[in-house]
Symmetry: C2
Subunit: 246 residues, 2 copies
């Protein structure tokens, strides 16, 4: 059997996320499996590097699948892009070692959260950014972001219901890039809890609005209490930006 | 009476253009007039710098309107952005001399045509670009574009039915900017005939695909024959980029 790695870009606006229990049809995973099954005549299951929520986008989601099909990577790419909806694009296909597993082998990920930070809204990026009309204090947000960096228990920054699994994660870096009205926040970490990026962003925004102080992050992390952290920022401005493997 | 100038950004995807005879309701002009009439209690008519076709977008369309309303420019901007659909944004409102006329006083315009030039399509810009999978010959296109610069009779590059009006226009510059897979073509001229930018672009693409030679432009301009020029490139990748006044 061959093992193929897919690099996938998608506009998540129309979908119930990457994967969903129950009604799975309107998911990105299902759409891709459907096309690959058509192509191969096999029942293909793809393994994503992780789920993305309803409305969340991806520049580089990674997945893999196994097949007896002997098509070349380029043939697979072209077939997929011909039959997939236009808001899902296969950017690259590579044949990989049979042991490659898109979820287990992922060592880190970058998420991007995009804020449109000016009074005037945007007609073109309205579906891909979060509009904050009042000027944010970027310096305070950068100061706050530094408290997230390192290994911490991020329980306060998660909507996870499960109490069993560890909520300890490592954040390698958080970069705030200002480009005109656009504030892009890049979160690089070894893994992220459910809603973690959106809650960290919601908290950073409250700090940028001077509703909280940067130093609060330290206390919130220690107290591990979801109530102390900020609101969950909207899904439509979040992008899975990249996934790294060894 | 006061005269206000509006700078407008819109995503034209959902609309029948800026203005339309007959069924006018699904036009950008109508949407704006509607909100301004609500705001002022008067029947407001706005004058655009020119029409844009169905599906064409704008970064900076300019319009003006007259009113007895005494709201400040900022109040008007905020009111409009609150009540307009999210794909139409008023970027700026300024009070101008009563003689200012957005159409008559416009001295030149820039249009942008955006090509996505790589094998792999784009999930995010699919509605705002024209996908050309095969590598275009940019040098040949630049050479061809130079033939358009200057004062010419652009009859061959127009879908206009009227035979009365002059089809002489001046193109000041055409710039092809390559940014990764994106090829942005900026057309700066004193005015543009109906479909002129889209037909010039369609012709440039044929040259970039080596279906025509750059030198052909000279002949096509001289022969004034629409059949010799290229196809009309799709509307969804065209943006009214800027409008200039004295």
């Amino acid at each position: 059997m061959r093992n193929y790695k897919l690099t996938i870009e998608y506009d998540g606006s129309r979908y119930n996320g990457w994967q969903r229990l129950g009604n799975t049809e309107n998911t990105i995973q299902f759409k891709i499996e459907n096309v690959l099954s058509l192509m191969t005549g096999e029942e293909i299951k793809i393994i994503g590097s992780g789920r993305t929520d309803a409305g969340v986008h991806a520049f580089n989601q990674i997945a893999n699948f196994k097949t007896y099909c002997t098509k070349s990577p380029l043939e697979i790419e072209n077939y997929c892009n011909q039959y997939l909806p236009q808001d899902i694009v296969i950017k690259k296909v590579t044949e990989v070692d049979e042991r490659f597993h898109a979820r287990y082998n992922a060592v880190s990920k970058i998420y991007l959260y995009r804020i449109w930070n000016q009074q005037t809204p945007t007609a073109f990026k309205r579906k891909y950014s979060y509009h904050i009309p009042h000027q944010l204090d970027i310096q305070a947000m950068r100061q706050a972001a530094n408290y997230f960096v390192g290994e911490h228990d991020f329980k306060a920054f998660s909507s996870a219901k499960s109490k069993k699994k560890s909520s300890v994660r490592t954040i390698y870096s958080i970069n705030l890039n200002v480009n005109g009205p656009e504030l892009d926040i890049y979160f690089h970490g070894n893994g992220f809890l459910y809603n973690m990026v959106r809650i960290m962003t919601g908290t950073l925004i409250e700090i940028g609005e001077h509703k909280q102080k940067p130093q609060n992050i330290e206390d919130i992390l220690q107290e591990r209490s979801r109530e102390e952290a900020g609101v969950t920022a909207p899904a439509q401005a979040l992008f899975l930006y990249d996934v790294f493997y060894e």
